[in-house]
């Protein structure tokens, strides 16, 4: 018996093949991580049934799953826009926080007696969302400009700017914007500036609708418009794009700003829909998990939206599992990570197949026949 790996003549792209690969990867990942439950006296099957039922099968739980998935979607969409255009941006954490800050600026200016106090709430919410997106766009636009104009290292610059954003928020919530009390956070926003809850009995807010609408617009933009095609061309092969008369630098700048705007909008949605105030530790890695969701979704808008929901469900269900079985929280993270690794590893099977054959029967040696 000999096992060898062979390239497929055509990659598997059909719908059922994708579903089968994802299904097998999920089961294998859960099984492997489930082994870790046993030393704690917890049953993997019971644990996972808690996880799944809390994340996806109860209305309240599924609401939380979608709430967790919303910012992931925004970041994943931003990743798709930036990376497709050849701009390897990793600064979504920063953009998200800056967007959250922008929304908070508007909300804090709308408290009683402040400049925006007499505006109608709908205008204020729109303004907060837009301002969050604009600040996010500027934040990533700086990186884009440095990349395009000076050929700066966008990965390094973006990672450093993430720190800048994290500590800027920290400064604001412990300093000028701090509310009286123990916690480093701003005051709670006006009730009418919260994003409305859309499903009774859950905490699901209107942010998910914004995310889905943005996703629909992006599908059209990326696949059906000249601008989307030119961004793609600039990302795939700059020489060929320029040959085709495409101004690759402009397209890359636009992609950078759009990606930052999406993450900024995500940040604004999170503060207006979930926390209702600006606080330290608001993002906590969402800006990176969204990139994972984009990769899991094979860089497609629809795929990454589904991956975001899946990932959100893993977080919400994992927390429930930890509470009910007494497993340490680190195990929940291991479960998530193992599943993601299996999903990514199974991507290999789209382009390759594993062949198990006895060496004598292999088609390359015919002398023995």
């Amino acid at each position: 018996m000999r096992v060898r790996i062979e390239q497929r003549s055509e990659p598997l792209t059909s719908w059922w093949a994708s579903a089968a690969l994802i299904g097998v990867a999920l089961i294998l990942g859960m099984a492997l991580a489930g082994l870790l439950f046993i030393p704690f006296g917890a049953s993997p099957i019971e644990g996972y049934s808690i996880l799944i039922s809390n994340a996806f099968l109860s209305l309240r739980g599924f609401g939380f799953t979608l709430v967790a998935a919303t910012p992931l979607m925004f970041v994943a969409f931003g990743t798709i826009v930036a990376w497709r255009c050849g701009f390897m941006f990793l600064g979504f954490e920063g953009c998200l926080l800056i967007g959250a800050m922008g929304a908070a600026m508007v909300a804090l200016a709308a408290v009683d007696g402040a400049v925006l106090a007499h505006f109608p709430p709908l205008i204020l919410i729109a303004l907060a969302l837009i301002w969050g997106a604009v600040l996010g766009a500027i934040w990533s636009g700086i990186v884009g400009e440095l990349k395009v104009r000076l050929d700066g290292n966008e990965i390094l610059i973006a990672l450093m700017m993430n720190f800048l954003a994290i500590y800027l928020i920290q400064y604001l919530v412990v300093g000028p914007w701090r509310v009286d009390g123990d916690l480093p956070q701003t005051i709670r926003f006006r009730r009418d500036m919260w994003l409305p809850y859309i499903l009774p009995g859950t905490r699901l807010h209107a942010g998910i609708l914004i995310a889905l609408a943005v996703g629909a617009v992006l599908i059209v933009l990326l696949n059906r418009t000249r601008a989307g095609f030119e961004m793609l061309a600039a990302g795939l092969n700059e020489t060929a794009a320029k040959y085709g008369g495409i101004n690759a630098a402009v397209r890359r700048r636009q992609a950078a700003c759009l990606a930052g705007a999406l993450a900024g909008l995500g940040g604004a949605v999170v503060v207006l829909g979930v926390h209702h105030r600006l606080l330290d530790g608001l993002s906590d890695g969402t800006g990176f998990l969204g990139i994972v969701a984009a990769l899991l979704g094979r860089m497609s808008i629809l795929g990454s939206a589904i991956a975001s929901i899946l990932y959100g469900g893993l977080s919400i269900g994992g927390d429930a599992m930890q509470r009910q079985t007494g497993l340490p929280s680190s195990i929940v993270v291991v479960v998530q990570a193992t599943i993601v690794l299996f999903l990514l590893a199974f991507e290999f099977l789209r382009t390759h197949r594993v062949v198990v054959a006895a060496p004598k029967a292999s088609s390359t040696s015919t002398k023995d026949v």
């Binding site: 062979e6 003549s9 059906r224 418009t225 000249r226 601008a227 095609f229 793609l232 061309a233 795939l236 092969n237 020489t239 060929a240 794009a241 320029k242 040959y243 085709g244 008369g245 495409i246 101004n247 088609s363 390359t364 015919t366 002398k367």
Partner: protein, 513 residues
């Protein structure tokens, strides 16, 4: 010719995987003292066969005999030990070392009588004199011309006492003068009892130099003939499998009207090189101005400057008297300049996208009137192009990078001519393509010319420039050496210009003689 062949392949078959049959039951023999041409289109299996002979691939079936004994090569070093040598298209020489050092380097077993660079030098001198190679053992490789480097490669094989020399497309990088010189060397080698295989798809070469010719098609050996007994037409027929119509319909140009013009244009060169002198020329409507020259003599820089991919240092470019020196590439495309670049995979296409999306590349508003792409119109255009040019593909959604070179070139050409260009720039229209594809592309270029489009075309293939052009300019180190009418152009004249003689100086020399 002796009775026993120096090398004999018997029933050699090579499969890749289950479905690809690269060589099907091939018989080939080589005798000492012959030049044997191996002729075939791309994908006919020539390279696979030679790689089997050189020990790079193991044959699936079949036997190889050297001087009557069966041999099995598991690597090139086995082949070299048995007296085989191969020269690839890219030379494997190290620039900063001398000829002698290069020859000693990497040889685990030095040939008899050589124990170091000093004795190697001696042997190089002897061999060089014996075969008329004229190579100085102490010359540094980086100071040698391409033709000289090729002779060093040949010397490398002789140094290791190769009896069978395999040369893969040996003339691709040479100027006509160098080719002549190279053929002299081959004759010398043949007369000294070596067997030489040249792998080629150029008919002229086969007729000029080979004693016998073997034609391969689609993995099979079609025939082996004495070159004297055949004709180029018969060889093309057996190589392609059908008759090829190489006749080009050249209609008379009606009125001479200037289309594209370069006026004292100074073209930027690569970093660090000094600027070439300004060039001036005009391409008239209904004319092909061909640019001959060895690769890398500023042709691409000139074309990219005209296309707006580089900015001119000085001078002007006009199209139908209209200034476009300052226009962007996009604006020039809108004005009707089409360009078929030499690097069809790196520049001319987006290889990971579909044929359909590649037709969108460089298009104007016709497929996206208000910024939205009209997919159905685009699909129609793609299907139309595929049908008109006979692109071999399952459908328009097929990934362009998976097309063969000829089919991809048809897509690029089709896209660029579909936009009714006001001027057509073409570089290396048929580099590396099959006879069938060349036939079609030449005919289309000629049809564009006959319909009145001014065409500027550069090719390193002299045959191509001579076949298509109305006038021929020769470029050398960024400079135009002269422009001659097609009736005055001869290979000798162009060849002399290609190595740096101006037309003027050649005419003067002729007048003086």
């Amino acid at each position: 010719m002796q009775s026993q062949p120096l090398m004999k392949m018997l029933g050699v078959t090579k499969r890749f995987g289950r479905s690809v049959l690269a060589n099907d039951d091939i018989n080939l023999d080589l005798y000492a003292g012959e030049v044997h041409a191996l002729l075939g289109e791309n994908g006919a299996g020539k390279s696979t066969l030679m790689n089997i002979l050189y020990g790079l691939y193991a044959p699936t079936e079949g036997q190889i005999f050297m001087e009557g004994h069966e041999v099995q090569f598991s690597s090139p070093s086995d082949a070299i030990a048995a007296g085989l040598g191969m020269i690839h298209q890219e030379f494997m020489l190290i620039g900063p070392f001398t000829v002698a050092e290069n020859l000693v380097m990497g040889t685990t077993d030095l040939p008899d009588g050589v124990d170091g660079v000093a004795t190697a030098r001696e042997k190089i001198r002897t061999l060089s004199a014996e075969f008329g190679l004229d190579v100085d053992p102490d010359a540094f490789i980086e100071e040698l011309s391409v033709g000289e480097r090729q002779r060093v490669e040949i010397l490398k094989l002789l140094f290791r006492d190769a009896k069978v020399l395999i040369l893969d497309e040996p003339t691709a990088v040479l100027t006509p003068l160098e080719i002549e010189r190279f053929f002299e060397v081959l004759k010398q080698l043949r007369d000294n009892g070596r067997a030489i295989v040249i792998v080629t798809h150029k008919m002229q070469e086969v007729m000029d130099i080979s004693d016998r010719v073997s034609v391969m098609r689609a993995g099979r050996m079609i025939e082996t003939l004495f070159t004297k007994t055949t004709t180029p037409e018969a060889l093309i027929r057996s190589m392609v499998g059908r008759d090829v119509d190489s006749h080009l319909e050249r209609s008379a140009t009606k009125e001479r009207q200037r289309g594209l013009e370069a006026i004292s244009l100074v073209v930027p060169r690569r970093d660090g090189e000094k600027l070439p002198p300004p060039v001036s020329f005009a391409v008239f409507h209904g004319e092909i101005l061909g640019i001959a020259g060895v690769d890398g003599n500023g042709q691409t820089e000139l074309f990219e400057t005209i296309m707006g991919l580089r900015s001119a240092v000085d001078g002007a470019i006009t199209l139908d008297k209209r200034q476009l020196t300052k226009s962007t590439c996009h604006e020039r495309r809108e004005l009707g300049i089409s360009y078929i670049p030499p690097d069809r995979r790196g520049t001319g296409s987006l290889t990971s996208l579909s044929i359909e999306n590649n037709i969108l590349l460089g298009s104007g508003a016709e497929f996206s009137p208000k910024g939205m792409i009209d997919r159905s119109k685009l699909r129609q255009a793609a299907d139309g192009l595929i049908e008109r040019f006979g692109v071999r593909t399952p459908n328009a959604e097929f990934i362009a990078g998976s097309l063969s070179g000829g089919n991809l070139q048809k897509v690029i050409l089709g896209r660029e001519v579909a936009r009714d260009p006001k001027v057509l720039l073409i570089e290396q229209p048929t580099r590396g393509l099959d006879v069938g594809a060349i036939e079609l592309i030449w005919a289309e270029i000629m049809a564009q010319r006959n319909s009145g489009v001014p065409i500027l075309m550069a090719s390193t293939e002299l045959e191509e420039v001579l076949a298509l052009s109305d006038r021929i300019a020769v470029m050398f180190e960024g400079e135009i050496m002269g422009i001659v009418h097609r009736d005055e152009a001869t290979k000798d004249l162009l060849g002399a210009m290609m190595v740096g003689n101006t037309l003027e100086s050649l005419r003067q020399a002729e007048a003086a003689a």
